[in-house]
């Protein structure tokens, strides 16, 4: 299969800066009076899904939106803390669309599509305008203008924020726009409803099968197009910063129906999270990256000091390893570098805390230099949260932090129109693979989700519907169409299977075991041998799952164990694809570190000759190896260099 990005022509006469505008002009429009004749399914009400559903409804399409929470306002996007990037250059510090584009391609370690990223940087401007218009209370200066900060090591201040609750406020903006369309009867909202499968008819996405999580009822929903905005799959590791119910099933089910899964191995591990405290731990809590602006990272020089009270360890016995190894960036190296180094010192036996999986983030210098009140003003709420969880006072004892899985850059393959290889299936937000390459920059996920939902899909979906109508490719589908019935039956069979295994192990116990395999072998440092081990362990665990799973209660009622079991079943397959992709990519890039591919100084070493492509995998059957398709990446505007933070 040839993978066409469908990006507009870009060359000397056709600059990248006008590509989106040209593309928009060339796309077909749906006449305003005709829009109400089309129906569109939107799965997910996070930033990407809520903004898409609201905007499409405003345009006149009939929308059915779905989320598994009890309200669209509770999607995982709500938890984003730090901020959202936009190339507004309000501070006048030299930012521009081109610089944001450049930083994003470079930050992604040259594994993303230039045309997409350029458009993203352009649309970042509109997002802030739209959000402020909706009444999103972004932070302001005394002069009444919007405030910006620098984030994640960026050299300009381009991050907009709303205290430490940026995701919440942006999501509430999109949710309110959605609420307005629900009131206008343009959106039919299905809460507590989980998409279980995609309905594909004559090669086109025509609907979904859903399960009502309260009654257990399985239902088919038919539409002219399906938009997936179902979020990332970081929870494949069991422990991550994602919300408890975040899962990969919607994307996985689409994959099994023929959609390509791109770069599944690209995972972002965030360096500053609260360490694991015990076996009963259910999730990990992120501590904002901004802490590294003033905190100093260290571990004891000698392993035997690791159990001591840190305040009794003298300066000369401490190893400020980031400052030592990266004198110019110091504690502000990018996420992947900071995470990997924390793992390295812990592997050397110099980790701290009861589990020895932790490093110190120390504010005593900052407190001495700036005074406690300044530190409190900057980070007071984070310190409080830390103390609530760990019962330790970071003003007195250094914080303990450790890396945790945070974000997945991989996802369903989409073209420039955000359409998957299945016509009529569009994928937005964290669920697609599009814009972040092998590593996402801080404050760029919110930007991408909203760019996709507010400003890209309204055009590209219209073009699809208009074109498909001309081609007479969207016939009316009856509810008893054989493909609809067959998909419903398959879902029912899957649910029945999970209910009837009658084994002894809970879904959570399988999930935890899978998480350990993934963290150990498909985590921060990956080796050929480790990945091969994972590829043996995962199918074994999956086989055991289908022999020994226990689910109690009934399928026709609210059943939290069944919900969990269905998601874990899909994680057990997705995990294998991640390991396979990681094994195939024998280079290091961004968040994907192959130990075999490093520079003499131990930094990630790309192999552009061999791996400058998107790895897009096709499902070939439950027991067959998937097939790899490659989309070559070319870079005409950004110069490929080895990243260096020395």
């Amino acid at each position: 299969m040839e993978l066409k990005s469908n990006a507009p022509l870009i060359d000397a006469q056709h600059p990248i800066a006008t590509a989106w505008e040209r593309h928009r002009f060339n796309m077909k429009l749906v006449n305003p009076a005709n829009k109400r004749k089309y129906s569109v399914i939107v799965v997910g009400t996070g930033l990407a899904g809520a903004s898409a559903a609201a905007t499409l409804a405003e345009l006149g399409y009939n929308i059915k939106a779905f989320c598994f929470q009890d309200s669209p306002r509770r999607a995982h996007s709500i938890a984003a803390q730090g901020g959202i990037n936009a190339a507004k250059d309000y501070p006048g510090d030299g930012d521009s669309v081109f610089r944001l584009f450049y930083d994003t391609v470079k930050g992604g370690d040259y594994r993303s599509r230039e045309a997409n990223v350029y458009r993203l940087a352009q649309l970042s401007l509109n997002i802030i305008d739209q959000a402020v218009g909706q009444g999103v209370p972004l932070a302001r200066e005394y002069g009444g203008l919007l405030s910006n900060r620098s984030f994640g090591g960026a050299q300009v201040s381009r991050t907009f924020y709303a205290r430490g609750q940026t995701g919440q406020q942006l999501l509430l903006g999109a949710y309110q726009a959605l609420a307005r369309q629900i009131e206008a009867n343009k959106v039919e909202m299905h809460v507590r409803t989980e998409m279980m499968d995609l309905i594909v008819i004559d090669g086109r996405a025509r609907g979904i099968v859903s399960r009502n999580l309260v009654t257990g009822a399985l239902e088919a929903h038919i539409a002219d197009a399906v938009v997936l905005a179902s979020g990332g799959y970081g929870n494949v590791y069991f422990l991550s910063t994602n919300a408890m119910a975040s899962n990969g099933s919607a994307a996985w089910r689409a994959y099994r129906r023929g959609a390509l899964f791109a770069n599944p191995c690209y995972t972002q591990i965030h360096p500053t999270c609260i360490p694991v405290h015990g076996e009963h731990q259910s999730k990990l809590t992120l501590m904002s990256e901004s802490l590294r602006n003033d905190g100093r990272v260290w571990v004891p020089k000698k392993a035997e000091d690791c159990g001591k009270n840190p305040n009794t360890i003298p300066e000369e016995d401490r190893d400020y390893y980031l400052e030592r190894k990266y004198p110019s960036f110091g504690n502000l190296v990018p996420r992947d570098v900071a995470s990997r180094n924390a793992k390295m010192v812990c592997d050397e036996g110099r980790g701290v805390g009861a589990t020895k999986l932790g490093v110190y983030l120390d504010f005593s210098d900052a407190i001495n230099r700036l005074g406690k009140h300044v530190v409190e003003e900057r980070y007071g709420n984070l310190f409080e949260m830390y103390e609530r969880i760990t019962d330790e006072d970071p003003y007195k004892t250094p914080m303990r932090i450790f890396p945790a899985v945070h974000y997945t850059m991989g996802g369903l393959w989409v073209d420039y129109n955000l359409q998957s290889n299945i016509p009529g299936l569009f994928v937005l937000g964290e669920a697609n693979f599009s814009d972040h390459g092998a590593n996402r920059l801080g404050a760029s996920a919110l930007m991408q989700g909203l760019a996709d939902g507010y400003f890209v899909i309204p055009y590209t979906l219209g073009h699809y519907l208009a074109t498909a109508t001309v081609d007479k490719a969207l016939p009316k589908i009856a509810e008893d169409h054989e493909a609809v019935v067959a998909t419903l039956d398959e879902v029912k069979a899957r649910v029945d299977q999970l209910m009837s295994i009658g084994g002894s192990r809970t879904p959570d116990s399988f999930h935890k075991e899978l998480g350990k395999i993934m963290w150990e072998h498909v985590g921060m440092g990956r080796t050929e041998a480790g990945l091969k081990t994972a590829l043996e362990l995962i199918p074994k665990l999956r086989a055991e799952f289908y022999k020994d799973l226990k689910v109690v209660g009934a399928a026709e009622s609210l059943n939290i164990t069944l919900e969990k079991a269905a998601r874990v079943a899909d994680f057990l397959e997705l995990a294998e694809l991640m390991a396979r992709d990681a094994l195939n990519r024998a280079e290091s890039c961004g968040g994907h570190f192959r130990e075999e591919s490093q520079t003499e100084e131990g930094e990630a070493k790309r192999d552009d000759e061999q791996f400058s492509y998107v790895a897009a995998w096709a499902f070939k059957g439950a027991d067959e190896a998937p097939e790899l398709h490659k989309e070559a990446l070319t870079f005409d505007h950004v110069k490929l260099t080895q990243r260096s933070y020395k």
């Binding site: 995982h76 932070a139 205290r163 726009a177 259910s282």
Partner: protein, 258 residues
């Protein structure tokens, strides 16, 4: 530590419901309240019993999904803390803990500790937004907003929609929730054109959903994990009566009929 739980179990909306007792012999003080319940659930499963159903997702105190009444207090004993952020070190070895769902006419129980909070979404749908379509916003800095105003709007916008205010109120009123959104949007210049209409419609919806009236107990603000203050209720009342006086057209018929 050993903790004895009395948990409300109710199989569906029709079931009458009852308390069941569970003993967790070995709770780690470092675990969160929900992690303790996870362990109880794993134990129940191992005995082929159905686990306790409760809503939760972010476990970071921001999504508003979690919420249960713990020993009579919505979200439990720690101030400004959601259930998911409550840790077991706030309890003592040997404690008895009573866990119930939010109780309010407008929040029917779905199962165990899960209630239907759709009424809160419908209040927002009645007017909790600014009517602006995507694509036609002016430059974000074209409209300076004084920092104190923006900050106050943010204080109100911080509401996570968990429903603890309703659960705490002897009248099961949703005044704090509704007033937080009315105030967030009503404080901002962008929210002015629809200010009167918004408050009218949202208050009417609140009544239609069966939430009670406000008799100034203040329990709602006490229980709010985000510290939303009573000042917003006062603001909403002013807005509402102002709207009625100035432009009675903005007050929906269903309110006027009463």
């Amino acid at each position: 530590m050993k903790i004895t739980l009395h948990v409300w179990r109710q199989s569906d909306a029709k079931d009458k419901g009852h308390f069941e007792k569970y003993v967790h012999p070995n709770v780690s003080p470092d675990s969160s309240f929900l992690e303790m319940l996870d362990e109880v659930n794993e134990d129940l499963l191992s005995q082929n019993k159905e686990p306790i159903a409760f809503d939760n997702d972010c476990r970071e105190g921001i999504c508003g999904a979690c919420g249960m009444v713990i020993n009579g207090a919505p979200h439990g004993p720690q101030r400004l803390t959601t259930t998911c952020q409550l840790h077991m070190r706030k309890f003592k070895d040997g404690d008895e803990v009573w866990i119930e769902p939010w109780r309010a006419k407008a929040f029917p129980v779905i199962r165990d500790l899960i209630v239907d909070r759709g009424a809160m979404d419908r209040i927002i749908e009645a007017g909790g937004y600014i009517s602006i379509n995507t694509q036609n916003a002016q430059d974000a800095n074209a409209l300076p907003i004084p920092k104190p105003v923006a900050d106050k709007a943010m204080d109100a916008a911080t509401c996570i929609g968990c429903g603890a205010c309703v659960a705490a109120c002897p009248n099961a009123a949703a005044m704090l929730f509704t007033s937080a959104k009315v105030s967030h949007l009503g404080l901002l210049p962008q929210g002015q054109p629809e200010r009167a209409r918004r408050v009218g419609n949202m208050v009417a919806q609140m009544e239609a959903e069966g939430f009670g009236g406000c008799t100034n107990h203040g329990d709602c603000a006490e229980a709010c994990p985000k510290g939303i203050g009573l000042e917003f209720i006062a603001r909403m009342n002013r807005d509402f009566f102002g709207a009625m006086l100035k432009s009675p057209d903005h007050i929906p018929a269903r309110w006027k009929r009463r």
